[in-house]
Every structure is written in C-alpha cells, then in structure tokens.
Amino acid sequence: MKNENYLDLNFKDIHAPFEVDRRDFLKIIGGGLFVLFTVGDTLGYIQQEQRRRGELPTDFNSFLRIDEDGKVTCFTGKIEMGQGIITSLAQMIADELDVALDSVQMLMGDTDLCPWDMGTFGSMSTRFFGPPLRAAAAEARIILLELASEQLKVPIEKLSVDKGVIYEKTKKRNKVTFAELTKGKKIERHIKEKPVLKDPSQFKIMNKSYTRVDSIEKVTGKAKFSGDIILPGMLYAKILRPPAHGAKLVDADLSEVKKMNDVIVVQDNDLIAVLHKYPDVAEKALLKIKAKFLPSESKLNNENIYEHLIKMAGDGRVVVNTGDVKEGEKGSASIVEETYYDSYCAHSPIEPRTALANVDGDKITVWGSTQNPFTAKEEVARALGVASEKVRIITPYVGGGFGGKTTNLQIVEAARLTKLTGKPVMVAYTREEEFFFDAFHPAAIVKVRSGINESKEISFWDYKVYFAGERGASHFYNIPNSITKSYGSGRGSAANVHPFATGAWRAPGNNTNTFARECQIDIMASKAGIDPLEFRLNHLTDKKFIEVLKTAGKKFGWKSSYAFPSGRGFGIACGSDAGTVVAMIVEVDVNKKTGNVKVKRVVCAQNMGIAINPQGATIQMEGCIMMGLGYSLTEEVMFSNGEILNKNYDNYDIPKFSWLPKIETIILDKKNEPPQGGGEPAIITVGAAIANAIYDKLGIRLNRMPMTPERIKEALSVKG
C-alpha cells in the first residue's frame, strides 16, 4: 500500500506538538505505573510530514497508567465518534495485560491530560496506534511481573497473570494484585526495546466480538456530547451569518435586538452574536438584526462547476507511469473514452458542530465536537492571541464525524465569545449552519481512456483525476501501458477553486476514484464480451484482490455464464483503502417510470488483516454500505452564487430505513496479519457496484454521481 494511501490525509495542521513538560504533565495525573510510548515507527510517512512541517513529538505521545487501585487507563488524544475504538483499543490493552476488559478506561481527546495526537481520521487508530499500544500493555505486564517476582520471591517464569492478579503457577494462593504492586509508587518507563507481543493463538479478548463499551450510556441518554455540558451562568450564542459564501457584510442594525431583555449583543470585527440563557430565545433575537450584505462574487453552480474545475486544474502530477500508453493505443482493437463526475457531498453528522467555552482567569477551556482536539487548541490560541498551554480542549463523545469535524470553526467562535463576555458560552450550530460551514466532499472529474487488444486484455490505461486527489487513483490491474495523473488537490483549498470549503469525507477521494475505475473496467469487460468478475480476475495477480472477489462471488452466488447486460441488475466493484482490500456485489431494481433505484442486496467481502473486534468491524462495513447508498444515489450539495441551497434534510436526502438492502458481510479470517483500516474501505465500492448493476439491469451507463431518478430517466430517454 506504500505511501499513496496516506498522501491525502489532512496533514495541513500538523505542527506544534506536545509542549507541556513531561514532569508537569505526570504531576497532574497522580501515582501508579506509567508506560510511555511513541506512536512512531509504523508511521513513517507521518513522521516525515512532521519533520517537514514542524517539530516531532520527541518524547512520547501516549501512555498507559495502572493506578494505585489497579485500574488501567489509556490516555490518548484520539476521540470516539461512533467508530468504536473506545472498545477495540481497550480490547488490545486488556488482552496484552491480562486484565478484564471492563477494568480498562479510555481517557480520550483531553489536551491537558492526553499527550499530543494529530487527530482521528484516515482509519489509522487501529493499524498505527494499535501496535505500540499493545507493546505498552505488554511492557506494563513485564514490569508488573518483575515487581511481583520480587515481592512473592518467585522467579518470573513461574508466575502467571489473570484478570489483574499475578500468582505462582503451582501455588495459586501465593499471589499479588496489580493494585498492591502499584500502591504508593510512581514508576515511569519508556518503551525502548519492543516487548514480545502475544501470538494470535494466545488471544483471549482480541479478535473476539464485543458490544460497544459505551452503549449503556448511549441508550439511557446519559452519554455526554458537547451540547450536554452545562456550566452555571452559561449563555447560548447565535451568530450573524452571511447568506452566501463570499457575501460581505455592509451594515448591521443592532438597535432592535439591543432593546431585548436579557440578551447580550457582541460585536467584534467580523463577529456579531447575540447571547441568551436559552438557545431558542437567542435564535429569535438574531432575527431582529437587520443586516445588509453585498452579494457573493461567485457565479458558480452545480452545472458550470465542472468546466470551472477543469480550467483551474493546472499541471497534473504523475502518480504512476508504466510502459508506454501510445504504444498501448496502437495495439488496441477497441478504445473506450469516458468522463466521470462526482458531486459535493455534506458530512451531515446528526450532531451539528457544537462547543462550550469557558474562561477562567487566563485559561480557556472548550468542550467541543472535534476529530482533532490538538489542532483546535492551536486554532483557539492563534485566534485569541494566547499561548497554547492556556487553552484546553476536552472532547466529549462526538456525534459522528466522517472527516467533517476536522474544521473547528465553532470551537474558535465559542472561545472568542467567552473571552469577550467573560461567561461560559455555547455555540451549537443549527442544521443550516452545519450545511453552510461544512467542508464538503469535493466535486471531481475523472477522464479515462483505455483500450483492449485482440486477446481481450486491457492494452493501455490513461487516467486523469481532477480534484478528488490521489487516494485510490492508481489501479491494481495488470495493464502493460498505464499512466495515472492527478490534477488539483483533493483538499481543494487553493483560492478560487471551490466556492466553499472542501475536505476529507469518509475515504476521501477514493469514492470518486473507485467509481471511475470500476465503471471503466466494467465497460471494458462488456466490450470484451467477458463476465465482469471473470474479466477482473483475468487482470489480477494480487492474491488479496483475487480472494475477496472470489469470496464475494461465492457468497452472492455469482454465475459467469450470462452476457451483460443481463437484465438481472447485478453489479460488481473492488478496491483498496487504508490497507484493506474490499470486493462488493450488489443487486438492484430500477423503476423505469420514476427512475428510482432500489438496492436489494449487497454482499461485501474484505481483507483487513486481523479484526480486533470482528463485530465492531462488521458494523463499520454495514455503516459504510448504507452510507454509501447516499453519495451514490441522492447526496449532492446544491449551490448557486455562493449560496448553499440545502438548509435542512428536506432537500438533502441521506439514507433512510426504507433503503435498507439485505446486507451480507464477510471479513476474511486473517488473524496472523497486521490490522488495517476498518472505518472507510467498504464505502469506496458502493457507487461503482450500483452503476454497474444499473447497467446490467437497463443497459444504461450513469457516469455522474449521485445517480438520481432524473439522471436515470434522462439516460433511459437517450437510449430510447
């Protein structure tokens, strides 16, 4: 997988690592055994980025503590947003340390208590954070065995550990608990050499299914999200917003709102806000402001955006180049040239961006829904002009992120307002604000030209991607002459490219790239008159791809005897993301009159190495599949002249219960292979699998996502 999978991550904000002195830091925490470790050696690329953009965290960036009561706590800057690492990371610790899963606490995303972390995205927690975390737990176990050996006067090899108790193998009454060993001590160790990790055959907790450890809190309504943090005297703020991106404020008449009882009005440069102890009253107060804005200069909309993007593309970068495409063209019996389009999509977590900020002396504390609390901390420090150690970000449960909660505007706004008013201030976005300020999945274009020769093999592949980025852009098929070029960044923040912010959206870029590649492969298969599963297998030597495709085919009951389009509505796609390889087969039905697509069945097989929590990983696959139906079929941010026309869910359709297909998932049993990403891979294949299934059903090709009823009807009318 090399570096290409990580190139597109949102690294722009990596700088200023952990600056609190370690001794100060550990003083806050109290006594017990500490094992400090660095998530580094498996993160070559990230280290490289950090070296380039700022200092490296030279000391440590995570630690494990066994306190004087024997309780195990992992302090990490990672956050929990539904992806389930609160459970899977705890499983790794519990298994390596030989303690019960429920005795492990995860303390996450608090910038004063946890060491620096770059953020939670890119399906990286398990694959990169996991191995050093396991090593730290294994190291802690060794230290505890050494202590126990001294105390029990028994050599280590005669000792055994179970559920936090160390005992003599032959005399079980001769025992000591972790708590007894750490009582009154402060032991600090930094992992130097790699401790021996357990072999998968010894796993008692890893690679076993557990339900979420946070589920009871969440089903009882007790789980705290940022909006559920309440401080005495707090105020809710509503902020004056422009009607469109790029619209400039000319004048705001605050006279009416200033007459309202108990409403505080704040004006600080560009920030105009009204505050009240009730959010609903603040919202009403905001309507009393009469503001004039100059219209946005943007003339872009959903139809002219693609032409604009092509104009802005500049010189491309060669991602991969093998053989000679021109030679390949000469030897082609048939050439296919297609352009694929993808739309802006919103992240749309059900919890809109929210933050509560509180100023206490010269210290600012913010509870915020964010995927990168340490970045938020720097952003607040910069905006307020204070030293970053004066800022603390605490991350309660995050109500969904999907890559969106990496921009922390609401956190900065809350911090500014608490500093201006001296009171605790909650900034909780409305749904309309959440749509408006989202950093959308970028609209993108892919142009592919490819050919097949007389032997029905792909002879050349010329692939150009514009503004989706490189993740998933290079193919994995055996094609002798092939070039992949990427134009513009998938992050698209260069001025004047996109009319609003764009950013990482679950498996950034890969949904677009896999859609284009796998549709094109399907077209080539039908040109060759070969079954699309067989055609793919004919061009693959990578065992992982072959295995997932065959596994999915078998589960689906795929028979390659039909000519496509067969009218059955079967579609296939495969791809790779975050180190995981995935194959998907879907069955669709299409209502020709309405253009509605019903995805009836989805079979998905993936190779993700060892699954730490197989049920958790399965749930991520199910979530990817269901969420993927949205970007494939309906989700498209509508905009015109800087205005975002989607203001609520009435005109932005995300998947609903009635869309639920029959979902069948298979995680290949690879417990001896290192863990790979789980939160994103299964979403990448959904678009192409559906497009290919629509082709199989009706003989029409949809090259633009989302594949809305209108676009399907249009394609049908063109076909006639």
């Binding site: 977590p349 609903k656 639920l660």
Partner: protein, 154 residues
Amino acid sequence: MPELIEFKLNDKAVKLNTDGERMLLWVLRTDLGLLGTKYGCGEGFCGSCTVIINNKAERSCGITVGSVRGKDVITIEGLMKNGKLHPLQKAFAEHDALQCGYCTPGMIMNAYGLLIRNPNPSYDEIINEMENNLCRCSAHKRIVDAVQTASAKM
C-alpha cells in the same frame, strides 16, 4: 410572556414558569435539565428530539411547551424503571444498534411509540415507522433487529 405550565414528565408532576410558545425540546434541555433529548435539525426531519406525549411519539423541536399542558410526557430518561433498562434499551445495547449514539435516544423513543400502539410490528411496519428518524452512522439494520427483539420481549 412567562406563564405557569404544568404537565407530567417521566411520571412526575412538573410546574414551570416560562413562555408557553417555547419549543418543548429547549425547555427540556434547559429549564428541566433533561439532556438525553437531542437537537438534530429543528424542523422535524431527523427525529433526534423524539419524545412520547400521551403515548404518541412526537418531535419535541416542533411542539410548544404550552401545548403539552396537562399531558403526559416521557423522555429517554423516563424509560428505565427501578434501575432496570427498558427492553428497547437493552435490545439496542445488545444488538450494537448504535455507533455515535447521538440519534439513539430519538430512535428508542420513536420505536417505543410504535410498540405502544403496535406491540408486534412486522418488519415493514418497523421500517415504515422508523423511516423519518435519521442515523448518519447507518446502524439501520441493527436498529430494526433491536426493535424486533424488544417487541418479542415486551
């Protein structure tokens, strides 16, 4: 204008002085300190704020507190009885029918409204009734399983 409003909330009488035109969602979350009921969209499209009013699932973001006067309101906090999880809560936890958990209270209350009216709903009836409760993490499959399990146990 503040006025005295009385209703039953989670089996207890409540009395409060507030503007009757305020939405129940915000009164629950601020005056009454019940934070399990969530804001998701403010216009009744997502169902995160669902509560039970006189045995019917309703969107608290679009119902004024004045209109629940004398009525019986149940929120997610009122589902547990004697420290025991309601079968729906138990089933949601056991089926892992949630990820981020933000939509979960609304999902459970909406399903509760369904089971009050129809204790043995079919698969299609569950889908139909849950249709307008949104879950972005996409736990739909497990939510349906959980509602079926709970219905069998109630």
